[in-house]
Subunit: 329 residues, 2 copies
DNA sequence: ATGAAAGCGCTAACAT
DNA sequence: ATGTTAGCGCTTTCAT
């Protein structure tokens, strides 16, 4: 910029005025400055600009579990769209469910002075964000809460959704229903388990603990869990799967077995309607979750200092066939 | 930082030393500084640091078509992983196939002085990046080339892959094979069409132009195209779909029709193996593409000033059933 | 209409 | 071991 000023034979401030389209520059001078800019290929450094202005960085951060997971990639796009609408750029990072990585990412983003941060919190302490919060960085939790962190939080109706799935199966006459959830340290997994238990109990169905399996979905473990659930003396006649990854893995395992239990999956997924037995699901709305989280973030950044709120996004049961199978005994 | 120095009763540089773990500070002083940091909740501003150091921003940008598309979300994760391994943060943005948006995103990223930029170029002029390139920003194109831009480029073997798909169908005895591709202004769509034509011609099969449809996959248009291809006088007995989105849309349309042409899809997708007729695909490797693009980017950033190179990632035919159907006439 | 000087938060280069 | 000065690239403030 100094060079531009020198070449154009004007002062630094005049170049600044031209670059920013400020008034108070004669046409003649502006032309000279533009020529110098072209010639020197000058490109303004927004970092320096931001520093001096002391203003917002117009940059928000998103920390989630896995950018490639369909649920989170849809959420990301929604966040990105809102950010774009507000003129902000988006820094993204995957925690891979590792608290250390999450923390490193979030603090890196803060060190770059993002205006706001959307986090899908892992199961860990989040007090490391207290200072950032105090310093005025807006934070919103999506998909899961961060206990002890006073921030807006957007969740799905996990218990309600799971209960809806179970109720649907109960209505088809099932009494022995299994639940295959993700690892129990994942908030949504445990919530959905609670919804399952609630609905079973409310219907007077005692839950045999052999019908419950909570683990990171991996083919081998899932296969064993299925075998256990489908074995005598009290085999399940229906299954509720705790998330999209689990549903897909279970479908794959079931394809290799004779048993055809009724099945409801938590999370919708592409092609669920085209499978041999179309899959009934409790659908979430990842785009709505991302959109709301982002809008809350920008609302906070705009200054509303109200109490942190918690939002629940409704789920929707989509009956496609697999959940309408009657009990086999 | 000034405040920290004042509170600790030391000089600015001493605080800097402590914050950066530089040697040459007595334990006693360090303790005082740390106390002041805690007390004032000081957090270093990396933006200012970077400005002063004049060093890399340790930040790279990724501009692609749609963050929520499975192909690109897998690519993104791979890029993110490489970036993380190199200690860089990742700015992401979706162009939505709009050249104006792509340009705005890319230039925004450059204004923030990203060290490098990975772009999935839309069909438009990319000379707007010339200045950035000249200024030393590393750029890599992924999935598609940007004609006229002298940068490393990572592509899939689009022609070869499409030809492989056609050859596979020819081997099953098909002679009338249709191609359903994306909009012709998309590089990959046109390349794959070329591969289809090449293989058909090489086999001595004249392509009836009614067997070719190139458009953004939308159910209505796709349905009409299918009806046309499947109608007399020379109905196709097999189909090659030009990308994942198209394949899924075609499967959905076919499900509502009696005809069961053989089908090969370009791009693998989850659950392809669990459909009633498992889908044969020419699989791409989006993670490999993202990884390579990112590694090339960091290699460029490290200084290798060699000629820009072009890389082709191999495709792999996965036979699952739909592509092994014999001709129906 | 234009420019000089000061300073955003930090660090490099030199003091002491 | 510690502090001082200058300056990264820009904008703000206040002159002219």
């Amino acid at each position: 910029m100094k060079d531009v000023a020198a070449l154009a034979g004007v002062g630094l401030k005049t170049v600044s005025r031209v670059v920013n389209g400020e008034p108070g520059v004669s046409e003649e001078t502006a032309r000279k400055v533009h020529a110098a800019i072209e010639h020197l290929r000058f490109r303004r450094n927004d970092g320096a600009r931001l520093l001096r202005q002391g203003s917002r960085t117009r940059c928000v951060g998103l920390v989630l579990e896995d950018l490639a997971d369909p649920f989170y990639s849809q959420l990301s796009r929604a966040v990105e769209e809102v950010a774009r609408a507000h003129g902000s750029l988006l820094l993204t990072g995957s925690s891979a469910e590792d608290p250390v990585r999450e923390r490193a990412l979030a603090l890196d983003f803060c060190a770059r002075r993002v205006d706001g941060l959307i986090i899908v919190p892992t199961a860990a302490d989040h007090s490391y964000l207290d200072d950032e919060l105090a310093a005025g960085t807006a934070v919103v939790c999506a998909d899961r809460p961060a206990p002890g962190l006073a921030v807006d939080t957007v969740l799905a109706d996990n218990r309600g959704g799971a209960a809806t799935g179970v109720d649907h199966l109960l209505r088809q006459g099932h009494r022995r229903i299994g639940f295959l959830g993700d690892a129990p340290d994942i908030y949504t997994a445990t919530e959905r388990l609670a919804g399952y238990r609630r609905a079973m109990t409310a219907a007077g169905c005692a839950v045999d603990e052999r019908w419950v399996a909570m683990a990171t979905p991996d083919p081998l473990a899932l296969g064993r869990a299925l075998d256990r659930m489908l074995a005598a003396p009290a085999p399940v006649t229906a299954l509720l799967c705790g998330n999209g990854r689990t549903t897909v893995a279970v479908l794959r395992e079931l394809a290799a077995r004779p048993a055809r239990p009724a099945l409801v999956g938590f999370d919708d997924f592409e092609l669920a309607d085209l499978l041999p037995l179309p899959v009934t699901v409790v659908a979430q709305d990842p785009a709505a979750m991302g959109r709301l989280a982002a809008e809350l973030l920008f609302r906070r950044m705009a200054g509303g200092g109200a109490e942190p709120q918690r939002f629940e996004i409704a789920t929707r049961l989509i009956a496609r066939g697999s959940g309408e199978l009657p009990p086999t005994d």
